[in-house]
Symmetry: D2
Subunit: 247 residues, 4 copies
């Protein structure tokens, strides 16, 4: 097949789902990977993608995933590392073992993913490796130190790899998602406002309206635009927020 392949790790109904759909629409053969294959399957089927089980916190599982994808769809030209282990709480209440494992799964998961992706892209001299970041990637908030540690680490990785891999034709992009993203089907009355994001109610809304809020679909458009950047003019980082989001 001459269709290029794409792999999304940490796939769900949010950004990764919208990006997956956009990739399918653009002609990519898309692989979605998440821990829970049963929950992932309907999403994958719905968009015309293939579902794979993988645990982003396990290096071996990620290595295996890339092999599985190679066999099923061929080596991917686009890879998105999306998951992150969020953990909140004041310093004294942090369980060190849980914290270590959260940092590990975010940071090392991103590293292994990048390594497996680059292993396939370097010989071809092209490919895109994307990382989904958060406000916490660039700003360490009180009571959120563990989350900041993982996200800062991924940003450090992305910046190093942008410098290292660009001359070899591989495009590394780190997306800073600044704000609470709308849930699927969410109404947009308060779209984009960070505080209200958690309380958005179900509701049938149009695609046009969805693009007014900090929706997965609105965000995915910029992922696709980054993918379309000619290598003469690349960005390595992209901050995204709703027009209503204070910053």
């Amino acid at each position: 097949m001459s269709q290029p392949g794409a792999l999304i790790i940490g796939a769900g109904p949010g950004i990764s789902g919208a990006f997956g759909s956009a990739l399918v629409a653009a002609g990519y053969r898309v692989a979605l990977a998440a821990r829970n294959l049963e929950r992932l399957r309907p999403l994958a089927t719905g968009m015309g993608a293939t579902a794979f089980a993988a645990d982003a916190s396990s290096p071996a599982s990620i290595v295996q995933l890339f092999s599985d994808v190679d066999a099923a769809l061929g080596p991917p030209e686009v890879v998105l590392f999306n998951p992150s282990a969020r953990m909140r709480g004041e310093l004294l209440g942090i369980d060190i073992e849980l914290a270590a494992s959260a940092i590990q799964s975010t940071a090392v998961g991103a590293l292994v993913t990048a390594q497996e992706a680059a292993r396939r892209m370097l010989p071809r001299g092209r490919g895109s490796i994307f990382f989904t970041g958060a406000t916490a990637s660039i700003k360490g908030f009180a009571s959120s130190s563990v989350f900041a540690m993982g996200k800062f680490a991924v940003r450090g990785l992305a910046q190093s790899l942008a410098r290292e891999l660009a001359p070899a034709g591989i495009h590394v992009v780190h997306f800073v998602i600044d704000g609470g993203v709308l849930k699927d089907g969410g109404t947009l009355k308060d779209g984009g406002a960070r505080k209200e994001a958690g309380t958005l109610k179900e509701g049938g809304i149009e695609q046009g309206e969805r693009l007014e809020g900090f929706s997965p679909e609105a965000i995915a458009k910029s992922y696709m635009a980054a993918l379309a950047q000619p290598r003469g003019a690349w960005s390595w980082e992209l901050e995204l927020r709703s027009f209503k989001e204070p910053f």
Copy 2:
């Protein structure tokens, strides 16, 4: 006419020219403005745009320009402020009067442009105001303090306005052009490498090749992508560099 209008201030054959062409191709009625109308006209005619004379260092001239454009094409929905007064040299050799005028024309020119643009966009609740920045917008180099002052000031303006105008539906974007941009017709053997940029020779090359170098065309693609961002997910700043550019 239902075609939206666009105005590019500080227009020439580089980024502004490529962005102008892309806007025309996308259905915009495009106004190009520069000091030297005679030199500008062939460029404008060539791309199907209208040429206007304006001096970005004169607030009155910019105000007049907007009136002229209103009359000819209607109020613009897209405005790009592109010019900047580059000035190099060590601190002791700086002519203060020239420096003051360089800072003035860069910074105040950008401010008046933004004010006139917003005056037309705020009532409609939409529009895009773009600023072309440089490496010097985010990094003050030795022997380049005056240039850094002007470019830092424009970035401060852009960030303030991004915060101020976003909730009113106006998209402000600051582009950090990190590297020497290829001249028109430049060969791409060393495309994107900052040092060689000045020595690029003439040569007939294909559009595809142009996109491999840090060319106006490659850059303009990201200006168009910023324009296409739905307001649910905006970026206020975009760094761009060739894949060969160290940073």
Copy 3:
């Protein structure tokens, strides 16, 4: 005299006054300059400094000031540029002429000051040039674009000069004063909290208490520490805020 000289431009009872007092205590001969000589004199006399009249918005006045200080105290080894023209308001309401003059006096005032300072320091291969910045030096707020433009410009200048002058033994430091500074004699019940800063009431408080709030005295300690940095380990920028200040 073997006492080193220091010059503070934009002197008043705040940061500049506290830094002046600390310099006098450390054995410097201190020159304070401000537009209003009558208001400045008691402050100068009170701390054992000499008062000079100068208008920071006029390059000629700054050049004259340096000559006057040379004659009276010898060429200064420490120079602080402290003033800034604050201007608030939404974009459409900005008076462009006032804005131009605010940017000019902040940015060009800082440039001329640096040039005159370096002219005297470069032959000796040592000296310190300090700039007082604000939150607006690194963050452009809504309704504060003109202030941000001036402060961003000064930061660009400071960073350029830090790179340019450090190898010649001249220490350039930009201080980011993040928060509302306590007024003289202010009580410290809410010291450092930005919102309350404007409403602080008069009251007799001890020096120790003053150091608990975002007071000129607390800030001046870090100016003195920057002055004491051996050139083996310099900082070019220092952010300062009260322990109670959110950021």
Copy 4:
């Protein structure tokens, strides 16, 4: 004893040693901790400090260390986390297990240290927690992604904790050491120049000369100045480089 206590983790003859000496000179009872007690002891003895064995890569070892220091010197008012696991190499050659353990020991080591320090400082409402960072804390270089991940993570931790702990009176500072630090006894002919730093030869030099280079002693002066900042005007981050260091 009314002498305050200080604990330095990852102690050696460099920055930590110079900071330790400065603390002793300022009247602190100083505890130095490192993996190799035999190598640490002469350093500790030489400066009048007490040596402790601890493995920064083991949370349990750090917890035990704090108990040991409590018993011997009382709970520390100053804690410096100094170690970092440097690891270089291109992406494809990275051993994931080694990388995971390097990130873990840098990031989780810093987190446990901060937690144990804060546990003792919060009840007293004062104390200082310092982290030694590097250029890689703010800039991810090619072929240095693992090092950047660990250092970025520590910076994220430091920024979160600066926000979280400042209102409780605890001063968190992250030092960005930008350049190669002189080795003990190093001659200063090329002091501070990053490239030469590795080749500095032994030689008897004066303390004054040492302060001209990017020496531990020069750096320690700024650690002491940060410690002396009154809480009315704190910095949470301090970049340090030699006057000869390009940046």
